[in-house]
Every structure is written in C-alpha cells, then in structure tokens.
C-alpha cells in the first residue's frame, strides 16, 4: 500500500491540484446550492456568473449545463504582453507572479496563509497581466475542455507553447544558480514547471552538495576558528531573492 512515488508532486498530481482553482462559470441551467465538504456552493441561476472550483466547472461544462469564462490572462492580448515581458524585458527571470490579493494584516487572519490553488487568480476578475502559479495546466485544461468558450483558441494555444519554451529555457538556465548551494529563487515559476524540473534540479543540487561537502566543512571549520560564524561577503546567495 505504500506510495511508490518519489518525493514531490508528479505532473498528474499537479493537474489534480489545479482542478481546485476557482474559475467563473455562466450557468445555462438552474441548480440549487449544494452542501459540499468544502462548504456550500452558490445556487446557479442563469445568467448570473458564479465562481466554482475547476473540477465542478468541468463537470457542468461536459454536461452542457454551463459555460466557463476564460480568465483574463488567458486572452491572446494578455498572453502577448506577458510573452513580450518574458522575451524582452526580463530575459533572465520569469515574469512576476500575480500580487497576493489579501495583504498581511496586523491581526492574524485566515487569508494570511492562503496560497494557490485557493487564491482567486483565474476567475473572471483576476488581474490580466500575470501568469498565475497553475497557468500551464489551467490553460491546457481549458483549451481541451472548452475551446468554444475561449476567443481565438488556436492563437492562445500557440502563445502558450511559446511561453512554455521561453520559460523552459529559463528553468534550465537556473540550474547554474544551484552550484554554490544556499537559497536560489525561482520567482514566478509555475507548478508544472516545478514538477517537471524537480527531479533534475534536486538531483543536481544533491550531487553538487556531495561533491562540495568537504569544501563546505573546511570553510565552516575555518570560519569557526576565526571566531565569526556568520556568512562572508562572497556569498552568492546574498543578492538573491531580495526585491
């Protein structure tokens, strides 16, 4: 019964996770509110828009009971803009992720620690200029299930493929940062990209760590002898991750 999978989510598990993202649907039939485990859903009354988790939206779509509104970032104009950003403005790093919709307040609140897929980053009123964490899976799923709801689906498909290629190159290039160890940032990376790259990157990291283990131990010993255990200025991870 033990799970035979390696650590970390596999791509199929990432797709499952992505199905928890909220999307906006336009119902074509009435449906009363349902008391689901994750809380009650809103009653469906055409033509009022309702946010629903993707798995439910897909079920409704398949039975032709609803249409799915594509998120604003999945429109050709937005993708064009993001692709431009990826290829011309930040050629080394990924385009930035959408800003967190709930700021950290002084009082601890339930929204403080919410993260994708539970952030509303793909509903009809989400920001158009950022790729959310589940962009690739969500785009592919929507193109597959409801290409009739997406304007210009062929163009969207091409743009998604272009984005994927540009970002894959960046993902590969980021392995260079892993050499020295420490913390390396992948700001703006997508879930599927992490799932794909995980085994390779973790492998590279562990291999390099083992190769450099004696050097690291020697450095630590030397620093201890000098009395200062703190990091030295030559650390390459100090300029990373800082905004």
């Amino acid at each position: 019964m033990a799970l035979p999978l390696p650590p970390g989510l596999t791509p199929t598990e990432v797709a499952f996770l992505c199905e928890m993202e909220m999307v906006t649907v336009v119902p074509r039939q009435k449906l009363e509110s349902l008391n689901l485990l994750a809380g009650a859903t809103q009653a469906l009354r055409p033509p009022h828009r309702v946010p629903l988790p993707l798995w439910l939206a897909l079920l409704l779509k398949r039975q032709r009971r609803a249409n799915i509104l594509p998120p604003p970032w999945l429109l050709p104009a937005s993708l064009d803009k993001i692709l431009k950003h990826e290829t011309e403005i930040s050629t080394e790093t990924f385009s930035p992720p959408p800003p967190h919709p709930y700021a950290v307040s002084i009082l601890p609140s339930a929204t403080d620690h919410i993260s994708p897929p539970f952030l509303p980053s793909s509903t009809a009123d989400s920001p158009p200029d950022y790729l959310p964490y589940h962009w690739l899976e969500l785009g592919e799923i929507l193109l597959d299930a409801c290409s009739d709801d997406i304007p210009d689906p062929d163009r969207v498909r091409t743009l998604l493929r272009d984005l994927r290629e540009v970002r894959m190159a960046k993902m590969r290039a980021s392995t260079k940062d892993l050499e020295g160890g420490g913390i390396s940032s992948l700001r703006g990376v997508g879930a599927m990209e992490v799932a794909e790259g995980r085994e390779f990157m973790v492998g590279v990291m562990d291999g390099l760590r083992q190769l450099g283990a004696s050097r690291e131990a020697a450095r630590r010993e030397r620093e201890e002898d000098e009395g200062g255990g703190a990091g030295q200025g030559d650390s390459e991870d100090e300029d990373m991750g800082l905004e």
Partner: protein, 233 residues
Amino acid sequence: MDISDILQDLNRDRDPFADDDYDDGRPSGQTDLQALTRAWINERAPQNSSHDLIERATNRIKAQIEKVEEMTGDMDPKTNFSLIIIQTEVERWKFIIRSILRARIAKIDKHTLYYLSTPELQTRLSETEIAYATRHQQLLHGHYLGSFLGSFPQQLQNLNDTAGGISMIGGPDEEGGVFVRSLGSHEIGGEGVVVRGRGRDGDGEVEVARGEVVVARWADVKEVVEKGEMELV
C-alpha cells in the same frame, strides 16, 4: 483597509487549522480542504510531518456519505446530478487522504527504526502507524535473524549499533533539496520570510518575498515550514 475589513477580520476564524471550528456553527470545510491539501503536498517531502487533521476530514467524509445514502432513498432524477457532484467531491477528498497515508507508510517502511528511535519522532506517528511500524520491524528482524543474523557472533547482531561513531539507523536525507513557497510572516515589518541558507562557499540570510518559490535544502527551511510560514510545492 477600512473599518469593515477590520471587523470582518475579527469575525473570521482566528486559526484556520484549529480544532474548535465546529463550535461557531460556520461551515469551515473550505479551511479544512486547504489544510488537507497543504498537508498532502507537505507529506510528499522527504520527512514525515506531524499527524492530525486526518480524523476530522474522515469524519466529514463519513457524514457526507451518510447524506448521500439518505438522498439515494428518494430517487428523483433532479437530485441525481447533485449526487454525482457530491460523490465526485467525496472521491477527491478520499484521494487526498489516501495519498497522505500512503506517503506516510512509504516513509515508515523506508526508515522504520529511525521513526521508532526517539520519542519525539514517535509523536509524529498516529497510534496505528506506531503499531504498524513496530510489527514491520519485528517481522523484518525475525527474518534477518532467521536468514543470516542468527549465525553471526552475538555482538554483531544489533541493528542499531552506533560503534565507530556511525549510527546504523538511516534517516531521511535532511540536506536534500526541496521547492518551497513563502507564505508570508507576521514578524518585523515586511511580508517576507527570512531564511538562513547554507552554501558551499558561504552562508547567508535571504528574505523570501510572499508567494515566491525557492529551491533550498530541507534542513534550512524545515523550521519555517513547520511554523507555517512556508509550504512545500
């Protein structure tokens, strides 16, 4: 942020993962789903995390299945579709729970003695998991004794020897690389989480902005993940 936001904050559940969220009469299945999903992803990390929440989720599922059974009594074609939706959701929850438990068993199988070795690690396991691990180890030890260990001299028969400064008990690789996302912190001003990373040529503190994904060694981020300021992805 205006006053209504603040009031709304006050009304919200203080700790989304607390046990007492049955009391206030509000359905907080959503927070449980979020907690469960996070637990699932975190569980796919190299080391076992502490165990709770599962019972609450299984109770919810049990109640939901009872409801489905009641609803199937009146076979109205209209409720039929609602039933499909409810059952699909139940299956999704069951999948997550199964996956969590199976990932835990895989880790116990791999490092049985390690998880049984200290009381601190034992508290991470549930009662049934401890029973499973103990039985697993008994069987394994019995098999080793029968097949080859029995013919060794007495002093070489231990499976948990620490002679020569090296422990025979293998644990998970604490230094392994993981992908983590910062969830934000309440400490000093910024929303970022400060992590101390150890590298080959130098150590350094890095502030990881909220929502940012980084690659790090598990040992470096373990503490902040357990504090809930970061999550694995």
